[in-house]
């Protein structure tokens, strides 16, 4: 093989590796915040050390296999070992590992420090979605006056260290946004914390990583980091008062359908019944975990049902998800517009949720949970009702 071919091959390979590649969104080698960065800084040298040792062992074995193969030589000397050599070869790896252990312990202690956080966000796992709520506080930018409850997507301001406090309502789940920090199990009966901070605006994907039953694979989440100004706009929108749909529209019918079919479990803040009394959902009467996503501002998020499905059509999704960091906040704040609504999947969901996402909702098989479902049951809605609900939900901005 001549030199030119070799160079071409090397360039081609490098291009393949680096050039056209876009790594997966959960790649743990693309840290986007100080916590993930310190893990990255610690782990890369260990990978290099491990790789070098691995290559040395392989080469050594290859040499032995070639050099000492049976070529009719005499029976070798029956050497039982060389204690000095052995002791040296025991001490060397021990020293290497001490060299790894010291920065490891330092990083463990540093990562545990959450005293500098300026914003508290609670996450609660349940089968198979994350609830995210912002308690009232003076932190998180200009402060939070009334609690914000959302699900699936956590919005944070960049450059602000956030204390994620997590627990679970049923089984163990694990909160993991690889580009921001390592994972933390969220355990029922315990509150665990995780510090996250994003350097740049962007959408950081994550996934539940503790096996949590049937739809574990469909339990995802995202952190959307935006500039402090965009974050203030987002907060303002999340706390604006409820507006009923205009009289006589499809969405107005949808409001009634929502009240009769969905409001038992799903809260829409500000929704009132015919007497003007606020409607408070009681998911604990129907769902084993006792919770269902708050849908007040569903269309400000761009995923649904445990962040497993897109509210944006395949054409619109990249415009937000692949937006450069300067515009991603603005794109996200546009929410889901009628022309971008992924009504195909939303309708599939409304038509028969457990058929789309595996859940325990078969009414004949709920003996173990006293008739409570785990996940959303099939509501047997008519196509007209689904049309109305889609129209209603589309206005939940």
């Amino acid at each position: 093989m001549n030199r030119r071919v070799r160079i071409a091959a090397a360039v081609g390979l490098a291009a393949l590796v680096a050039g056209c590649a876009e790594d997966a969104p959960q790649d743990m080698f693309q840290p986007a915040g100080p916590n993930a960065q310190s893990i990255y800084d610690l782990s890369v040298p260990v990978f290099i050390i491990a790789g070098v040792i691995g290559v040395i062992v392989m080469v050594f074995i290859a040499i032995i296999v070639v050099k000492f193969r049976d070529r009719g030589q005499a029976i070798p000397d029956q050497v039982h070992g060389k204690p000095t050599l052995e002791i040296i070869l025991t001490i060397i790896p021990a020293l290497i590992l001490i060299g790894v252990a010291i920065p490891t312990v330092g990083t463990i202690m540093a990562l545990n420090d959450t005293s500098d956080t300026e914003c508290v966000i609670n996450v609660t796992g349940q089968q198979w979605w994350w609830e995210i709520d912002y308690p009232t506080q003076s932190g998180c930018g200009s402060g939070i006056d009334q609690p914000i409850i959302t699900s699936g997507q956590m919005v944070i301001p960049i450059g602000t260290p956030v204390l994620v406090r997590g627990t679970s309502r049923d089984v163990i789940h694990s909160w993991w946004i690889p580009r921001l920090n390592g994972k933390r199990d969220m355990v029922p009966g315990r509150v665990h914390t995780n510090r996250i901070e994003a350097d740049e605006p962007g959408i950081y994907a994550g996934q539940c990583t503790e096996f949590c039953g049937l739809s574990h694979a469909n339990m995802r989440m995202e952190v959307i980091a935006m500039t402090p100004e965009d974050f203030e706009a987002w907060k303002l929108n999340q706390t604006k008062p409820y507006e009923s749909p205009a009289e006589g529209t499809l969405a107005a019918k949808g409001e009634q359908t929502f009240i009769s079919q969905c409001a038992r479990c799903h809260q829409v803040n500000g929704l009132e019944d015919a007497d003007g009394a606020p409607i408070v959902s009681r998911p604990d009467l129907s769902v084993y975990s006792g919770a269902a996503p708050n849908l007040t501002h569903l269309m400000t998020r761009n995923t649904f049902a445990g962040a497993a499905y897109n509210l944006l059509t395949p054409e619109c999704r990249p415009k937000v998800w692949n937006a450069p960091s300067e515009t991603v906040g603005a794109e996200y704040l546009k929410g889901v517009t009628p022309d971008c609504l992924n009504s195909v999947e939303l309708r599939e969901w409304l038509r028969n949720a457990p058929a789309k996402k595996p859940m325990y909702a078969d009414p004949t098989k709920l003996e173990a949970t006293d008739g409570l479902t785990r996940g959303m049951p099939n509501l047997a809605l008519s196509e007209d009702q689904i049309d109305e609900l889609v129209a209603y939900l589309l206005e939940r901005h």
């Binding site: 310190s38 062992v57 070798p76 029956q78 070869l89 163990i172 096996f211 049937l214």
Partner: protein
């Protein structure tokens, strides 16, 4: 004990036995003394037959677990796979791990320990032959019991780690977890009984002259493993008991609403689960520590270092369990301690790799299939060990845990470490056990396809994991696959194709067994081997050794064949006898009176009572009573049965009735 403690010539004892035992009144329940036919296997107490049955049943489970693995990879070959439902997928990965760990690697290692340990230490059987049969049948029935869940409402679906509270009834309403819990309790008894048996065997039944530091290295590693089992099986038994009471009898050990802490289960499980990793790999380390010296024509380099590093691994292995819980929220001090302890255990493991390579250094390497598997183990296990160091670093592990990177790591450790070692052992000892050679040609295909297959399957999983693909997910989505070189879709497909190559490679082993079944008898010493198990015929006689050998050195068999004729520091080894000649000499001086214990029904009867109780716990309390009654009957029958069958139980009985015909006639 029956064998060694029984005096060789005691008609008085035989007479007394006849007086106090009810064996003569059994009628149809005469002891199954047949030397041929299925009864000679089903009721045997011979460690060799038991070892073979352990191996055969473990192999069956290997292919069951392999099919489960192929289904998992088929499901994951494409995004949003539809071959398995979420429910079936969760059962599949739970049972794949359960089957491979508890029903293949552990019993396969038990097969080798059972068969080889008495031979390697110059004994005629294990210390408690009937307990040995009990272990076997508990394992067999326990394995069948767990797998019967497939047709009785679905298998366990909580993962082999079965974390609470996901294992409780509201979250896993089928009986699958009950089958899993009760089945593992049963196989746990098998392991515990086997551990006690083999510990006593290794410590008490070594041939004259075999000091502990002359014990073959496989026996040493098997002994360490038995101690690990002895101390770790009780822990998982406690955990499984709590889970059984949680699910079946209304207990609240894992009910969070009643104040339970779900981390209790994790600590109990991993306090068992981490020693379990060493239970899986140390037997294979022992096997290749026999294979490498044999085919390098050199003693094991640094035998005492290998022994003590094995013991050190066993010891430190109990102090690293929480490295499975770095993301569980233990607090920084615990995490730091366990992180450093985990790094510490890498040192004795590294010592082993260094010693294996230095064993080959300066040798005269003979690349048989067994040797290829042994070298394959060193290479593959090194990769798994080094990736292990990358997640001993706890902060890195919080990124890596529960991703495919971990799946890659432990498959390099368990497939690359344990399974390749077991295959090395199978190829090495096949002529010893079955008296025939396996085809070396098919063996090579078997080896290379398995190596290529495993690297194609598990190698890409490093990339998948580091790119953020979590484990235990029945589907993955194209949305999060990326593109270019690290495209998850590409590497998932490669892994799935690799699993097929691996499956074909493993299947070639069965082909090899089939093709080789009519091979001519193997030579007496086909590998020019070194340790005591080769100091007898292939396969060994029922009583193993014609005379109990006296041991003068490590690698006794080698030194009976070769003598150092060099002068001073100048060594020169000359063959003074062939293996066959050495064995012939033993036959010439055979012991005149050799006593072996007789077969017995009771181990199997006792073993079958436990699955009956298990079905009772799940389906009907009456079955518990029936099973318990059988257990009591079996215990009494067992306790009252003499070690050796009474003369009247043979068919036809010997005419004079006082000469125990179980005393083997050995031609002198």
């Amino acid at each position: 004990m029956a064998i060694i403690e029984r005096p060789t010539d005691t008609p008085a004892l035989a007479g007394a036995g006849a007086a106090v035992t009810p064996s003569s009144s059994y009628g149809n329940f005469r002891r199954p003394v047949q030397a041929t036919g299925w009864k000679s296997w089903a009721f045997t107490v011979d460690h060799k037959k038991i070892g073979i049955m352990y191996g055969v049943v473990a192999m069956v489970f290997f292919f069951v677990g392999g099919i489960e693995a192929l289904l998992i990879r088929a499901q994951l070959a494409q995004p949003n796979g539809t071959i398995l439902s979420a429910d079936k997928y969760n059962q599949m990965f739970t049972m794949h791990a359960t089957t491979m760990v508890f029903l293949f690697v552990m019993p396969m290692a038990a097969a080798f320990a059972n068969y080889m340990m008495p031979l390697q230490i110059g004994a005629r059987d294990v210390a408690f032959p009937r307990l040995n049969a009990l272990s076997l049948w508990l394992f067999v029935f326990g394995g069948i019991f767990i797998n019967s869940s497939w047709i009785l409402g679905g298998a366990a679906d909580g993962g082999w780690f079965m974390y609470a509270p996901n294992s409780s009834v509201p979250f896993s309403p089928t009986n699958g977890v009950d089958f899993w819990t009760l089945g593992l309790l049963i196989t746990g008894v098998a392991s515990q009984v086997g551990a006690i048996n083999l510990i006593v065997t290794a410590l008490n039944m070594r041939a004259p002259g075999m000091k502990l530091m002359r014990m073959p290295i496989f026996t040493w590693m098997a002994l360490v493993v038995q101690f690990l089992l002895l101390f770790s099986i009780p822990v998982i038994t406690v955990a499984l008991f709590l889970l059984m009471f949680q699910r079946n009898f209304g207990a609240n050990f894992f009910s969070v609403e009643a104040g339970a802490d779900p981390l209790l289960w994790q600590h109990l499980f991993w306090l068992f689960g981490h020693p379990e990793v060493y239970i899986l790999v140390l037997p294979s380390f022992g096997i290749i520590s026999e294979v490498l010296p044999t085919f390098s024509r050199k003693p094991l380099f640094g035998y005492p270092f290998v022994v003590f590093s094995g013991a050190a691994i066993g010891f430190v292995g109990f102090g690293v369990w929480a490295h499975h819980m770095f993301a569980a929220g233990l607090g920084p001090i615990s995490v730091a301690v366990f992180s450093v302890a985990t790094m510490a255990i890498a040192v004795p493991t590294g010592v082993k790799i260094i010693n294996w390579t230095l064993t080959m250094w300066g040798g005269k390497l003979w690349f048989t299939t067994a040797m290829l598997f042994a070298i394959g183990l060193i290479v593959q296990f090194t990769i798994g060990g080094l990736s292990g160091v990358t997640h001993a670093v706890a902060p890195s592990d919080t990124q890596q845990t529960d991703t495919y990177y971990i799946v890659a790591h432990f498959h390099y450790v368990i497939f690359g470490g344990a399974v390749l070692g077991l295959f090395a052992g199978i190829y090495y000892w096949w002529p010893k056990v079955f008296g025939k050679m396996l085809s070396e040609k098919i063996g090579r295909w078997n080896f290379w396809l398995m190596i290529i297959g495993m690297n194609m399957t598990f190698g890409p999983m490093h990339i998948l994991g580091l790119q953020g693909q979590p484990r235990r997910m029945y589907i993955w989505t194209g949305d999060r696959a990326g593109d270019g070189f690290f495209d998850l879709a590409f590497w998932n497909l490669v892994a799935s194709i690799g699993s097929l190559v691996l499956g074909i490679g493993a299947f070639l082993f069965l082909v090899n067994v089939w093709v080789s079944r009519k091979n001519p008898p193997a030579p007496a010493d086909p590998w020019d081997a070194r340790s005591l198990e080769w100091l007898t015929t292939n396969p060994p006689k029922e009583h193993n050794f014609d005379r109990i050998p006296t041991v003068h050195t490590l690698d006794e068999f080698f030194h009976r064949k070769y003598e150092d004729v060099g002068e001073g520091d100048q060594h020169d080894y000359k063959q003074v006898a062939t293996g066959a000649e050495v064995i012939e000499l033993e036959e010439k001086y055979a012991d005149a009176h050799i006593h072996l214990p007789s077969p017995s029904y009771w181990p199997m009867v006792l073993a079958i009572s436990l699955p009956i109780i298990g079905y009772g716990v799940i389906f009907n309390t009456l079955l518990i009573v029936a099973g318990a009654a059988i257990a009591v009957l079996a215990l009494f029958g067992w306790a009252l049965e003499p070690p050796t069958a009474d003369e009247s139980e043979f068919d036809p009985p010997a005419p004079d009735g006082d000469q125990p015909s179980k005393e083997l006639a050995v031609s002198v």
